[in-house]
């Protein structure tokens, strides 16, 4: 296999890395020499260009790949780990899955970089931001291009690190640092599962080396694992497929924010909006879906694991959708929406149709990034106000943002022919028709499919709520009581405990918590920097910000239709089909009524939009009746609080108990005990030193007697009994 045209793929990795380094190295000098405005512009272009260049290289490589027949290449650079029986080389795998992800990451990534040059223009730490962002792109590319599990894991950990760095970008506010810590630590829990899965695979392959169809010492490479697992984990070893699959799924849950491990994602909104768009909508959170696609054979071999994936996916989707209804912060709504859509992707994967999961990844990247960037534009226009209850009728003031977000909204709601509808429909049809995912024989994915229809309705509903509150209705910020300073939204939500996602912000770009904001306001009563006052006129965003929005809108609109033609995406991703086929899609949902899936899903979407408008713009009187549900949903059903209390406080108590009980009680006692035993011996022996002369004399006599006796005995013996 001649891999020489693909050797250039390393450029895709190196370009962002070099970009990150250049930001660090040149950032300070350039800004100092060219002045703040021009310097930042220069550094901004220096940040965007590597990603664009990587995108172009990606396009080239994809073109080369499409011309080959096998569409599966591996480029090895050097041996990273070579120990005894196992060898892990630094290899990049170029196939359709990885190139799809590369295109999405670099394409959407470059658009977001461009957006961020405008959004972060007033940020003091400009180069630092872009170095982190470039580093993130590099790590994500290692993740998707990695040819073996450890390489993927390097990227996995790298994006976790960059997520931490970027969420906590405004680190001087301790709430942001806490959110960053939370993201990293919860991810770690997922990484535990991933690592165990890796070890299980490597060990099981190594132990059964003799019966492997593909014999190689690269035990963790995909091209070695997957064919071997197909043959090996059958019959008596079938349970190992389930265990490995579930362990890897735990890792995916951590990264992709599925049910038990999702609680870092809403807190991650403390980071700047471009970060939320890039990492927590388009790329990092899809790493879990990518992993499942990579090792899909394990899941195909284990109906139980596929069932688990389906159930957790749909549960997360529903749970997050309910919570999204009650959120008032625009970014939080989008965050929960991301969690919900990720659940969708997992339902698709669990049903055996892995390409549907990836399809939704691609379309979701477009419209969710667009939504986040649009939300950023809205926030920018409204002087960093994030509470939707202060918005209203913004379509008059920021038309371009409105137009692009309109497209994204319809896409996520699933209105045909926008992209979201195709991907959702493919997932739901795969779920309904699937016969793979089963818990002990009972079909799980059908139930998931029907619930998914319900979630589609809810998605349309809450997204409509968001759009209606923001762009229609009365201009609620005009009703603000004029204060000497405009940050009075600190008053709200005091009695409802929830994690802070940045309330007040000053010109230096730092967010503060409510208490600190109150202190600042008290001390600086007449600061007029970014007040959202009643007479505020929202302005449209600069071109560096709305150009990416427009591009993403075009993609959201057309990409779905294009990729769905004749199953283009499915055949592109899995040219040889899946190894174990799930059943096809049913023609009718409810037999006998002539309803096809397309009709039902469109009806669901339209209903959702209708209810959304109805309830949001007109339905205030229903609010009190379900007030209890709203509070519950607002607090994430107290899941977050419980988890944090249990782990943080519980962990602290556990540590304290161990310290008191074990460290002080047992270990210290042993050590001190040894010392006191030595001391005890010493005091015992000390009693012989009486200082009493006559006693010493007596002892001398006794000693002398002893010697004499012995001497006499010896002489007696020698003399032969004389």
């Amino acid at each position: 296999m001649d891999t020489s045209p693909f050797n250039i793929i390393i450029a895709v990795l190196l370009l962002p890395l070099v970009g990150s380094f250049l930001q660090v190295a040149l950032g300070g000098p350039v800004i100092r020499s060219l002045g703040v405005v021009k310097g930042r512009k220069a550094m901004g272009w220096l940040a965007v260009l590597p990603i664009l260049a990587a995108f172009i290289v990606g396009v080239y490589v994809t073109g080369q790949l499409a011309q080959t027949t096998s569409r599966d290449f591996s480029v090895t650079y050097f041996d990273w780990i070579k120990v005894l029986a196992i060898r892990i080389p630094f290899e990049l795998k170029i196939d359709t899955l990885s190139m799809t992800m590369v295109l999405v990451i670099t394409g959407v990534g470059s658009l977001i970089h461009l957006y961020a040059t405008g959004y972060m223009a007033e940020e003091t730490d400009y180069p630092r931001f872009f170095s982190y962002l470039n580093l993130f792109i590099a790590c994500m590319l290692i993740l998707v291009l990695g040819g073996n599990l450890p390489m993927t894991f390097i990227g996995w950990e790298g994006v976790g690190l960059c997520s931490y760095l970027l969420i906590g970008f405004w680190y001087k506010d301790v709430a942001n640092s806490k959110a960053a810590n939370k993201a990293f630590i919860v991810n770690r829990v997922g990484d535990w599962g991933l690592t165990l899965g890796m070890f299980l695979l490597a060990v099981s392959l190594a132990i059964n080396y003799k019966s492997l169809p593909v014999k190689s010492d690269r035990f963790l490479s995909y091209d070695v694992i997957l064919p071997n697992v197909l043959q090996l984990f059958t019959g008596p070893h079938a349970w190992m497929a389930t265990v490995a699959a579930i362990l890897l799924f735990v890792g995916a849950c951590g990264k992709s924010a599925q049910f038990p491990l999702y609680l870092w994602l809403p807190d991650a909104m403390a980071g700047p909006t471009p970060v939320s768009a890039l990492i927590h909508a388009a790329t990092m959170v899809t790493a879990g879906v990518y992993l499942l696609n990579r090792v899909h054979i394990l899941f195909l071999m284990s109906p139980f694991a596929s069932g688990v994936v389906c159930v957790i996916g749909i549960f997360t989707a529903t749970f997050a959708a309910i919570i999204a209804f009650a959120q008032t912060d625009i970014k939080k709504v989008l965050a929960y929406s991301t969690v919900s859509q990720l659940g969708y992707m997992f339902v698709g994967c669990g049903s055996g149709a892995y390409w549907t999961g990836m399809f939704h990844v691609v379309t979701h990247a477009f419209f969710k990034a667009l939504l986040f960037l649009g939300a950023g534009a809205v926030i920018y226009a409204m002087s960093h106000e994030q509470d939707m209850r202060r918005y209203g009728n913004l379509r008059k003031y920021i038309p371009i943002t409105f137009g692009t977000m309109f497209v994204a909204w319809l896409a996520i709601a699933g209105i045909w022919p926008l992209s979201g509808s195709f991907s959702k429909e493919s997932i739901i049809s795969a779920a309904l028709g699937d016969q793979l995912a089963a818990f002990g024989g009972s079909p799980v994915s059908q139930i998931c499919g029907y619930v998914a229809l319900l979630v589609a309705l809810m998605t349309a509903w809450y997204m409509t709520r968001l759009m209606a509150m923001t762009f229609w209705g009365p201009e609620r910020w005009r009703e603000l009581v004029p204060e000497a300073h405009g940050h009075d939204h600190a008053r709200h939500d005091h009695d409802v405990p929830h994690s802070h996602a940045g309330h007040g912000e000053d010109i230096h770009g730092f967010f503060f918590t409510d208490e600190e904001m109150a202190v600042r306001q008290a001390s600086e009563p007449h600061e007029e920097h970014h007040g959202l006052t009643a007479d505020h006129q929202p302005k449209e965003v600069p071109p560096s910000m709305w150009v990416p929005l427009v591009i993403l809108a075009i993609l959201s609109a057309g990409a779905g239709y294009y990729l769905n033609q004749n199953g283009l995406f499915e055949h592109w991703l899995y040219p040889n089909g899946l190894e174990i086929k799930a059943a096809g899609e049913p023609a009718e949902i409810v037999p006998g009524t002539g309803l096809t899936l397309l009709t039902v899903s469109t009806v669901a979407a339209v209903l959702g939009i209708f209810f959304g408008f109805l309830v949001t713009l007109k339905g205030g009187r229903y609010a009190s009746r379900i007030g209890w549900l709203k509070d519950l949903a607002f607090n994430q059903f107290y899941y977050d609080k419980t988890m944090m209390d249990a782990s943080v406080k519980g962990g602290g108590e556990f540590g304290r108990a161990l310290w008191q009980g074990f460290d002080v009680g047992v270990i210290d006692r042993i050590v001190n005990g040894v010392a006191s035993i030595a001391g005890g011996f010493g005091s015992l022996l000390r009693k012989t030193q009486t200082g009493f002369v006559r006693g010493y004399a007596l002892l001398m006599l006794a000693g002398g007697l002893g010697v004499l006796c012995w001497l006499g005995y010896a002489l007696y013996q020698q003399g032969g009994g004389r």
């Binding site: 006693g695 007596l698 006499g712």
Partner: protein
Amino acid sequence: MPSITITPDLIVFVPLALVAALSAIGVVALKNAVRSALCLVLNFFTLSALYFNLRAEIIGITQVVVYTGAIMVLFLFVIMLLNLGAPQLLAEKKDLKIGAGLAGGVILFGVIAGTIFPPLVSVNVIHAPTKYGEPATLGHTLFTQFVWPFEVASILLLVGIVGSILLAKRKI
């Protein structure tokens, strides 16, 4: 039981030995330190007589001159100087040490006697030459064979003098 031949030596020896033994007991048992010292003096005189009995005249004279005449005088001087003779000064209380000491002493006597005496029970023939106790022989030996120990002993005595003067001075 070996037969005991009565010789003039034996007749002289027995009373002297009794006196020596009794005065030795007296040294240990008497409460008054002065009386103890005087018992010791008696002991030394008796020993000197025994040395004469053994035909080592020079040793006997040296014993009287050095031990009795110098050392015991020194002892008595110190006792009287420090007024240590008063019996009430040290009321010896009864303690276990006396019993232990006596027992130890008896055992000591028994062990050594049991080891040494059996092979020597019937020795009573004198092999020493007649003149071995004369001053000429002693002097000759002292200044030829034992001249080195003699010199060292004189240095030792010098050290003793210096030390005792240093200890007894009031001011250095």
